[in-house]
Each structure stands twice: as structure tokens, then as C-alpha cells.
Symmetry: C2
């Protein structure tokens, strides 16, 4: 079992996949972790479209590789397409919080659950924002009214030591107010 | 050690705190987990302001309790105020992705790391979006150019069995494309 601190280090943006297929049940375990994430007013404003066959995977690649981006996806067998649903907030709350649009935060929280669960299950993930939204709607049959936020490449990683993480030092992102 | 599946169940929106003080080092461990989250182009567009003394905690409460909301925060000793920084994306990417505003997703991902680390450390959290942003800027001295997204109440929970989670069934939030 991996400690949570270690799991955070193990989760990294994986751009090197073995190409092996992945059991759909493992992907569903990631979606279930995403499902259990918290959200504003428990609105759960997310939907996951899972692609785990070569024909549809190629369709997804067609939508995320324009301008020579995301070439690594050629060897990734599975993808989750994450859409944002219109959040249904309690009316008295919604009336006062126009500027915040919590749904996008909520999608992020849910995606974090997905990726950490994947790492815990030995899967690599890469969160991809470079996507042709119209083409994804069209090729994968995703309803037009759902905003596509992200695609998560998911597959078996070529095993290696996790890279050390390049991040701002904690003093730069955190202030203790006194 | 808690498995990740169990950690997800343990993490819940905590609205019942003992009132005990929390070591700042424990809060910093949560921030460090948040710091290690992934983000678009590794832009890390977040900042955490930690409040862990009664005077400033009361100032935070003043900013999140209007209209009789969040009364439970009276017994919460510590808060993280999370701001969104303008993301610095690679120029050729930024030029093509105006509509997405990934920074808000990224803040969500980072906040999930914070809350899961808190749960792993035996702390309760509640993500609060109901806040008076102007008042927080003013009372806590947070720079005007930083968008305040969320406040995370953090403290020792009154111990109880985790509530069972009320969520949409997986069939409602997930479609396997065939």
C-alpha cells in the first residue's frame, strides 16, 4: 500500500506508455474515485466519457494532436473525456455567486481524484487541455451542450523512477498570515 | 496507513470541529501536497494564505458568514484562503486556448490534494465558496490582483463514522463510448 505522500510523488504526467491494453474495470475504478469528489452544493457537475478501444482511441488522438502536439498519445490505449455540466446550485446561493463559476473548480477536484486513483492502481495519466472541442463533440458523439474541459490519457506507464517534481518553493506559494 | 480508496471515503466536508488548535506544521503538510499538484504547462497558478490564530481566524469568519451561512466555522481554528494567479502558459499554447482558462481547473486539482492530505493527517476540511471576496482582500491583506477562489476550513473533526456519500450513480456520470 502506498502512503498518500508517496502517491502524490508517484502521480506524474505520463508521456510514455507501453501500449498494452487496460481493463475497463480499472478505468471505472478511477471514474468511481472521481465520482466521490466533493463539489459546490454537491452538484457533481461532471461527466466522464471513457474510450478504451483502438478505433475510438484513434478518434480521440485526432482531436488532441493538431500542430504536432501530444504525439505520446499514439501509444496510449485509453482516454477519459471530461465534460462540465451546468451546476445546479441551491437558488439562494446561486443568486449571489455569479462571478465564481465553481463548476470548473469542481471538475478539477474530480480529475485529481481520477489521476490519484490511477496512480494507486499502477496506471499513468496525463491531463490534456490541448484539444479540438468541436471535433471531439462530433467524432465521439458528445452532446453539444456539455463543455469539454479535459482529456485524460490513461494507460500502463513504461516503468521508471518517478521524475523529481519541478515546483515553486513553498515560500513562493504560501504565506502564513500573522 | 489508509488505502487511497478508504482515504476518499474518509475525506468529507467537515462541519463539526472540536475547536482544538492545529499545529501549523500539519497545515503546511497540506499546502505541500497542494504544491505538488499538476497544472497546465506546470504554471502552478495558485497561492495559499494560511490563517492559524484566533484574531485572524475571526476575520476570516467575518468574511464567510454573511446571511447566516457557515456558522460551523465558529469552532474551526484554521483556514486556508486559496487564490488563483494569472497562469503563465507557453505562448504558442496560450494563443489557442482562450476559452478554457485552465487555471481554475488547476486550482481545483491543487485543492483536492490539500483536502486529501488533511484527511490523511486526521484533519477535517470544508471547501467554502460562499465568501465576501472584497472583504477578504481588505481584512487579510491579500493582494487585489489575486482572485480569491475558495476558503478551506481546516481543523480537528469531532470524531464520528464518515457519513455515507450521496452521489449520482456511476451510470449517470459515466458513459463508455463504443
Amino acid at each position: 500500500m502506498t502512503s498518500f505522500s508517496d502517491l502524490i510523488l508517484k502521480r506524474e504526467s505520463c508521456r510514455s506508455y507501453t501500449g498494452e491494453s487496460v481493463d475497463t474495470s480499472l478505468l471505472m475504478k478511477c471514474v468511481d474515485a472521481a465520482r466521490l469528489a466533493p463539489s459546490a452544493c454537491n452538484s457533481q457537475p461532471w461527466k466522464y466519457y471513457i474510450v478504451n478501444d483502438e478505433k475510438n482511441a484513434q478518434s480521440v488522438r485526432d482531436c488532441i494532436q493538431h500542430n504536432n502536439m501530444n504525439k505520446f498519445a499514439d501509444k496510449c490505449p485509453a482516454f477519459a473525456i471530461v465534460t462540465e455540466q451546468p451546476a445546479t446550485l441551491k437558488a439562494h446561493i446561486a443568486a449571489q455567486v455569479h462571478s465564481q463559476k465553481w463548476a470548473q473548480n469542481d471538475v478539477g477536484i474530480s480529475v485529481a481524484h481520477y489521476c490519484l486513483q490511477a496512480a494507486d492502481s499502477g496506471l499513468g495519466t496525463c491531463i490534456i487541455g490541448w484539444l479540438d472541442e468541436d471535433m471531439l463533440h462530433e467524432k465521439l458523439g458528445i452532446p453539444a451542450e456539455e463543455k469539454i474541459r479535459l482529456v485524460i490519457a490513461t494507460g500502463k506507464p513504461v516503468e521508471a523512477q518517478p521524475r523529481s517534481k519541478v515546483r515553486k518553493p513553498i515560500e513562493e506559494i504560501c504565506t502564513v498570515i500573522k
